[in-house]
């Protein structure tokens, strides 16, 4: 057995991180916003949200939730910003952000498609649905198409076993999917329109 998906390159970036925007270990405990961040309303909202938790370090997950809600995904400068405000080391923030599938470190597509790979859905053929979508979209689970139209994800049981196999398109659960119905649903979201 050869373990799949263990390609380290996917997870470990070789490029240096841009730390110009925020320095988390600034001597003044709370670094001022850069002009670019100060002009961005979302940082103000996020700061207010952090204040609501009184800057508590154990509110990291809640703060990351809000950050992703505001920005769509968590980029490096945003993680460093959160780290500096909660006075947590960058590695801790990054570790938490990568532990939970919910947090996205890359920009997501305009549409999302979540294929349930829970036991019930799997035995009813969700693996074939996923394979068909992957082939048609030309991306693997966890990736986004180049035109940023579709993000494909998988889940371990979404609690809809009675309608297995279930697929969630843009937050709406669709029952009893097969490769044909799934591709019909994705029509228009895929670059070549099939």
């Amino acid at each position: 057995m050869r373990a799949e998906g263990l390609d380290h390159q996917v997870y470990c970036r070789s490029r240096p991180v841009n730390t110009e925007t925020t320095t988390p270990w600034d001597k003044t405990a709370v670094a001022a916003l850069t002009p670019l961040q100060a002009s961005d309303k979302r940082y103000k909202i996020l700061e207010a949200h952090i204040k609501k938790y009184q800057g508590r370090q154990d509110a990291l997950i809640e703060v990351l939730h809000k950050a992703q809600e505001l920005f769509g995904f968590l980029e490096d400068s945003l993680l460093l910003f959160v780290g500096s405000r909660l006075k947590l080391p960058p590695s801790r923030v990054y570790g938490v952000a990568t532990f939970y599938h919910y947090f996205k470190l890359k920009p997501q597509g305009a549409h999302t498609c979540v294929v349930c790979l829970g036991t019930a859905c799997y035995v009813r053929g969700s693996d074939r649905v996923l394979a068909a979508i992957e082939q048609s979209a030309g991306i693997k689970s966890g990736e986004t198409t180049e035109d940023k139209q579709l993000s494909l994800m998988t889940a371990r049981c979404i609690g809809a076993c009675s309608i297995a196999p279930a697929v969630v398109y843009d937050g709406v659960i669709h029952p009893k999917q097969d490769p044909e119905s799934a591709l019909a649903q994705l029509k228009g979201w895929l670059p070549h329109g099939n």
Binding site: H8, Y11, R13, T23, P89, P90, S91, Y94, G95, T98
Partner: protein, 238 residues
């Protein structure tokens, strides 16, 4: 502090309330194999090698994270435990690329020593042969993910003793790996103080001093316990 009495391998042992089974066993001179345990830092229960049987509990408990209780009956060396320990070691070897003959820690590796002590002469599982990289961006030290067993000793040492928090674990499951700051090259890390405590703490050849030979790559983890003892108890016990 109140003392509690328990029974380990048929021997009556007493230890302070709040002590772990491992601490009680060490005090009583009973050896329990450990890998992720490191004197001086808190325990994580990551390696599962210190699993023990406790009468009345129908699952195995890690000795390093289970607190003792009055009248507890513990077994540390049963046939079942020996079997599982070997299995755990084999899985550790199969998960990443542990090639002792080409490793800088060959001969003074805790994983290798444990495998030897537990009679692990071969691995019954298929090797995963994952493609992990080596981070040689730091001027003094290197990190070879292929040798990492995710014991998180380096993470705990960096956090608890050095206080820098440079290292942590990213991802989850088989895909998790040790990171520096935002999973950037170690050499680019702004929090790393290059103190080398993580290298001392590493039980395998995952963290190493660059340019050192197999004979030179010996570590002395008691130095870490020395620092903690000196800092917290003001006792310089060399």
């Amino acid at each position: 502090m109140a003392a509690k009495t328990l029974n380990i391998n048929g021997k009556q042992v007493s230890a302070d309330e709040g002590a772990t089974i491992l601490e009680a066993a060490i005090e009583a001179g009973i050896k329990i194999p450990t890998l992720c345990h490191l004197d001086g830092v808190y325990d994580a229960g990551a390696c599962r090698l210190c699993l023990v049987e406790v009468t009345g509990v129908n699952k195995l408990l890690s000795a390093c994270t289970t607190r003792i209780a009055e009248g507890m009956e513990v077994h540390t060396d049963t046939e079942q435990l020996r079997k599982y320990r070997r299995m755990t070691l084999e899985l550790l070897f199969a998960e990443r690329n542990h090639t002792c003959s080409a490793c800088v820690s060959n001969g003074h590796c805790e994983l290798q020593a444990l495998a030897w002590q537990n009679g692990m002469d071969h691995v019954r599982y298929d090797y995963c042969f994952p493609r992990w990289s080596v981070d040689a961006s730091h001027p003094r030290y290197g990190l070879d993910h292929n040798r990492c067993i995710l014991c998180t000793r380096c993470v705990r040492v960096c956090w608890h003793i050095e206080g820098a928090g440079t290292k942590n674990v990213a991802g989850r499951g088989a895909k998790s790996f040790i990171i520096d700051d935002l999973a950037q090259p170690w050499g680019d890390s702004e929090t790393c103080t290059s103190c080398g405590k993580c290298v001392i703490a590493c039980p395998t050849g995952a963290l190493f001093t660059r340019g050192s030979t197999v004979a030179e790559m010996e570590r002395d983890p008691s130095k870490l316990a020395f620092i903690v003892n000196a800092r917290e108890r003001k006792q310089w016990v060399v």
